[in-house]
Amino acid sequence: MMLGNCATSSSLSTTSDEDIVNNNLTALVVDDSPMIRKLHDMHLKKFGLKVQVAENGKNAIDLFRCGASFNLILMDKEMPIMDGAEATRELRTMGVTSMIVGVTSLDSIFDRQAFMEAGLDHCFTKPLTTENINFLLQELNKNNEEN
């Protein structure tokens, strides 16, 4: 597992226990939009996660095939080459147990449900908010304590 570095934040003057816990968490942002990759990368780093990015589902799969692992994957749905649903199904078939979170602008309940059924743990509307990330980190830390 990749070790995380504590991201600096001008709003924090001391390191909390939460930062120490988040320091060991890694994330992969999978999105074809450079803007979204940058946004989510920064957002997660603010919470102390170590982050990598991938431009599409195939790149994400290749990272895992090369031996990378991540606690959290933020997966866009609509991407060229391999979309988020296909990538999620493939990762689960490969035995990947990371938390996979769909981050999509899909507004049809049917489409979101289909995306969830590909193997997501959660699905949020783009862009992720601070509240969303807080929730995900709580879930991740809960899972880590249980294991």
Binding site: T8, S9, P34, M35, M42, S105, K126, P127, T129, T130
Partner: protein, 145 residues
């Protein structure tokens, strides 16, 4: 100049060009990444220019492929939401409604209005960031009054 920057920023919210999502961007900016907001906004205008061109080209083909148009606008709306481009997002929603009701005239009108709002936003944000670079960023991101 700082005051001028603050007034300019406030007016972007007061006039409805930006919403709370822009503040979320500002809250991510820090000393290690002092131009983060401008960098994200620059990427937005780069991405979205391509989408606008796609929509423009699709509107030149008759009959309209409303599904394709809706798809492009859906992407555009998503990007616009990510930077808090409030008015642009609203025009995107209207365009999509016209797509869903297969209203060609409505689509054309809404697209013209959207391009106007988009151009205005771009101009205002360029001016804002130019002043910000001269002034240095405002110390804290504050919620609009």
């Amino acid at each position: 100049m700082r005051r001028q920057l603050a007034i300019m920023r406030q007016s972007l919210f007061d006039q409805g060009y930006l919403d709370e999502q822009f503040i979320e961007l500002e809250e991510l900016q820090d000393d290690a990444n002092p131009n983060f907001v401008e960098e994200v906004v620059t990427l937005y205008f780069r991405d979205s220019a391509r989408l606008i061109l796609n929509i423009q080209q699709a509107l030149e083909r008759k009959p309209f492929d409303f599904n394709k148009l809706d798809g492009y606008m859906h992407q555009f709306k998503g990007s616009s939401s990510s930077i808090g481009a409030n008015k642009v997002k609203a025009e995107s929603t209207l365009f999509r409604e016209y797509c869903r009701s297969a209203n060609a005239e409505g689509c054309l009108r809404a697209f013209q209005q959207l391009k106007k709002e988009y151009a205005t936003l771009r101009k205002k944000l360029e001016a804002y960031f130019q002043l910000a670079r001269q002034t240095g960023p405002l110390e804290t991101a504050s919620r609009p009054k």
